[in-house]
């Protein structure tokens, strides 16, 4: 994947698709993310606690799904510092079974708008994350400063 340059960024326009990504999330990934982020909520690693909370099983951290969709942005821009804002709703949980395959999350993005602001060109990007064909994130949107 080639990151944006001032030349390629000049042609970024509404409707452009960002390179998509498919990520397998296993229980080991959840444990690793729990440790790295400090979010030790047991619904992300204990079937017992997840079940008693009314969930169909252990679920991925919402913030992990948000971070995975964020990879679409960083891979596209090549400059993680260009991300000015990023927000999402958590609409559906990603249920992660206790097996080797885990859950597969599909991530994609598209440019919703390009605007000039204070001498900079800002791309507004709508992101999608789906699991079993259904949206995991809602209204996931980021503002990215384009190189130029």
């Amino acid at each position: 994947m080639t990151a944006l340059t001032p030349d390629t960024a000049a042609s970024v326009a509404k409707g452009d698709a960002l390179p998509s990504l498919s990520v397998q999330v296993t229980r080991a990934d959840l444990v690793r993310y729990a440790g790295a982020s400090g979010d030790l909520n047991p619904i992300h690693w204990s079937d017992r606690v997840a079940g008693s909370a009314g969930l169909p099983g252990v679920i991925a951290h919402g913030m992990l799904s948000m971070a995975l969709a964020g990879r679409v942005l960083t891979a596209w821009t090549g400059d993680p510092a260009a991300i000015r804002s990023y927000g999402t709703r958590f609409t559906r949980p990603v249920v992660v079974p206790d097996d080797d395959a885990g859950a597969t999350v599909e991530l994609s993005g598209a440019v919703a708008e390009v605007r000039d602001e204070g001498g900079e060109r800002i791309a507004v990007v709508d992101l999608k994350a789906t699991f079993e064909g259904k949206a995991v994130l809602g209204r996931a949107r980021a503002e990215v400063v384009l190189p130029g």
């Binding site: 990520v23 990934d29 690793r32 993310y33 440790g35 790295a36 982020s37 400090g38 979010d39 909370a53 919402g62 913030m63 992990l64 948000m66 971070a67 995975l68 964020g70 990879r71 942005l73 960083t74 891979a75 090549g78 400059d79 993680p80 510092a81 991300i83 000015r84 804002s85 990023y86 927000g87 999402t88 709703r89 958590f90 809602g138 980021a142």
Partner: protein, 149 residues
């Protein structure tokens, strides 16, 4: 108890949290993002940054503990065990980089109670050692209202 009297409440500043290179690397590995700016200081400097850049969702590492401590205050009476994360937004004034010493102040922005659930919107204002604004996070958290509803 969880009621409107909390809206407008803010915490004392929490910190400083020192952003470490190894913490950024650990977090980047945990989200599977191999961007060189998250692991190679030379690449980060070549791109114009002082040190490693943190992934955009990295501030959760130091803002969520502030949120958790607030929500576990018995005076608030929040049902932490049945909480779910409703939405999350982060706005950057500048990227977080390794070596930053960051201070967080939590503000209670909004409380709505509907259909038996509390929806609490918390804002974290993150500043650096010079007092300059770095980032603002907005988190909406949902928990059963119980007999408060």
């Amino acid at each position: 108890m969880v009621d409107q009297s909390w809206v407008g409440h803010s915490t004392d500043p929490v910190g400083p949290y020192q952003v470490g290179r190894e913490k950024i690397r650990e977090f980047a590995v945990a989200i599977g993002d191999g961007d060189p700016l998250f692991r190679d200081p030379d690449a980060a400097r070549a791109a114009g940054h002082r040190d490693l850049v943190a992934p955009p969702t990295f501030p959760t590492c130091f803002t969520m503990p502030v949120i958790e401590e607030f929500l576990r205050d018995p005076a608030l009476g929040w049902d932490y065990t049945r909480m779910v994360h409703g939405d999350q937004r982060i706005v950057f004034r500048r990227p977080v980089v390794a070596g930053d010493e960051l201070t967080t102040v939590l503000h209670v922005d909004e409380l709505r109670t509907r259909a038996g659930n509390h929806m609490l919107t918390l804002r974290c204002e993150v500043t650096d050692a010079s007092g300059a604004a770095v980032a603002t996070t907005h988190s909406m958290l949902v928990s059963p209202a119980g007999e408060d509803a």
